[in-house]
């Protein structure tokens, strides 16, 4: 479950004002709005990457407003994938597990399991240089899912993809959510994408949440 109550975040002259919503556990929320409306700022605040000046963020019923990002158990996929340039695909997927001190065999099994879901088993030995946009997003998704997060935050993960790749990524996101039951908050500009994926659609305008409702 993701809940945000009267959240205020200031970034320079821009401000998120009294943003509040609640996504039930296991649901798929899509956050829409124009460029500059504060979608990414809200997502970053939920992930713990922005200082919050008022209000609360609750994940799974716990108040995490003052928790560091590392404790929030959120898988984050940014728009540009932001893969780690010096690591191979296998190492990207194992990153969070290694930080958590998983044993080698458990780590290897989990990486292979996630890679199989995402159809990137053939890429495990590859450097990230030369991955296509769709492949890079799958790797970023795998890196975010490997440690079994309760929440997945996706910042326009499909915006740079061509129509066919976008379609297959949508199918993948649906199957990942069905399999893991993770609560998803997904930013997009694409209405068709929102209609296809969303249980809940949230719309932002100039730092305020304008509408919310079931899809």
């Amino acid at each position: 479950m993701i809940a945000v109550e009267q959240l205020r975040v200031s970034v320079g002259t821009f401000e998120l004002c009294d943003v509040g919503f609640s996504l039930p556990a296991g649901s798929y929320g899509v956050l829409m709005g124009r460029t500059g409306s504060g979608k990414t700022t809200l997502l970053e605040a939920i992930c713990g990457l922005r200082r919050v000046s008022g209000g609360r963020v609750l994940l799974g019923g716990r108040d995490v407003t003052d928790w560091p990002p590392s404790r929030r158990n959120i898988g984050f996929v940014p728009q540009d994938a932001a893969l780690f340039a010096h690591l191979k695909v296998r190492e990207q997927l194992a990153f969070a597990l290694e930080v958590r001190g998983w044993e080698t065999k458990a780590m290897r099994d989990r990486v292979e399991e996630v890679a199989e879901w995402l159809g990137i088993t053939g890429l495990l030995g590859r450097e990230v240089t030369g991955l296509s946009g769709g492949e890079a997003q799958r790797v970023a998704l795998g890196r975010a899912l490997a440690f079994r997060p309760e929440v997945l935050c996706l910042d326009e993960p499909l915006s740079a993809l061509d129509q066919d790749t976008r379609e297959s990524m949508c199918e993948l996101l649906e199957s990942v959510q069905a399999r893991t039951g993770v609560t998803v908050l997904h930013i997009t500009h694409n209405r068709a994408e929102a209609e296809r994926l969303a249980d809940w659609v949230l719309t932002m305008k100039e730092g305020r949440l304008e509408t919310r409702g079931g899809a």
């Binding site: 590392s70 984050f76 940014p78 340039a85 930080v99 990230v128 240089t129 890196r143």
Partner: protein
């Protein structure tokens, strides 16, 4: 495939003219550098070079140059990586002042750096330190004099490196379970290796050419604080122009060999080839 930024598109007549103009403007400088080296080579003979290499004073100066430049480079990186990262990623009180202070050794005349170091070690704390651990007119003064200038260039290089790196990857690392230190060591530090190579090269080359602060702060004592740049000065001051030119050429050869070795080592360890997305 590694991206080089080189343009391989076919050229039109106008494009050729444009590149020719660029080549002409840049070529004047490259020609001047080459002409200087050719003039040096024409002035000296293999005999002079060999004599320089056999001279115990010059061999000592060369050993001290190589040792002090390498130590200075390591010390500069030791400071430049954390300071560059801090300046690029955090806002803190007095940041602008720190930024300004880092530039001071770059804008000050090298002689003034040497003079200021000499005065610093004449103060009570400086003298107390000198009694415990001799610095002035000893080998540590050579390293300190080189470090004061080289480190400023290394910090600038590392600051630019981290400024140009998108912090997003480090933010992702935080959500994946890292604290700030882990995000630095696991993500930012490996991604900055090309910048570190550039900073190391710059610091090393700058140290090899350092002369003013060493002359003032370390003196020019043979078999003690003499480095190759000091040798050129000492030979010139006694009118031995042939030896001065021979040592100058030795410095060029030493620098080229060291930089080629550094780059080859970096290439073999993939240090200079970040796998970028």
């Amino acid at each position: 495939m590694r991206r080089t930024g080189a343009d391989s598109a076919p050229l039109s007549g106008g494009d050729r003219g444009f590149y020719a103009a660029l080549g002409l403007l840049g070529g004047v400088y490259v020609f001047l550098v080459a002409a200087m080296l050719v003039a040096d080579m024409a002035y000296t003979t293999p005999g002079h070079l060999l004599a320089s290499l056999k001279s115990p004073e010059i061999r000592y100066a060369m050993r001290l140059s190589l040792l002090s430049c390498t130590l200075t480079t390591l010390l500069s990186l030791w400071v430049a990586v954390p300071l560059g990262y801090l300046l690029a990623r955090r806002n803190f009180p007095g940041k602008q002042l720190v930024d300004l202070m880092v530039d001071i050794p770059i804008v000050l005349p090298p002689l003034v750096v040497g003079l200021s170091l000499l005065i610093l070690f004449q103060t009570a704390p400086g003298r107390a330190l000198g009694e415990l651990f001799p610095v002035t007119y000893a080998i540590p003064s050579v390293i300190l004099a080189q470090f004061m200038v080289a480190c400023a260039f290394a910090v600038r290089t590392m600051r630019t490196t981290f400024d140009q790196m998108n912090p997003r990857a480090e933010q992702v690392a935080l959500t994946l379970g890292c604290d700030r230190a882990q995000a630095f060591w696991r993500v930012a530090f490996p991604a900055a290796r090309r910048g570190m190579l550039a900073a190391a090269t710059l610091a090393w080359a700058r140290s090899l050419g350092e002369f003013g602060p060493i002359l003032i702060f370390s003196g020019a004592t043979r078999f003690k604080t003499e480095v190759l740049s000091t040798t050129v000065f000492l030979e010139l001051s006694v009118g031995n122009l042939e030896a001065a030119v021979a040592v100058s050429l030795l410095m060029v050869i030493t620098a080229v060999v060291a930089l080629v070795v550094l780059r080859r080592w970096a290439h073999e360890t993939a240090l200079g080839h970040p796998r970028s997305t």
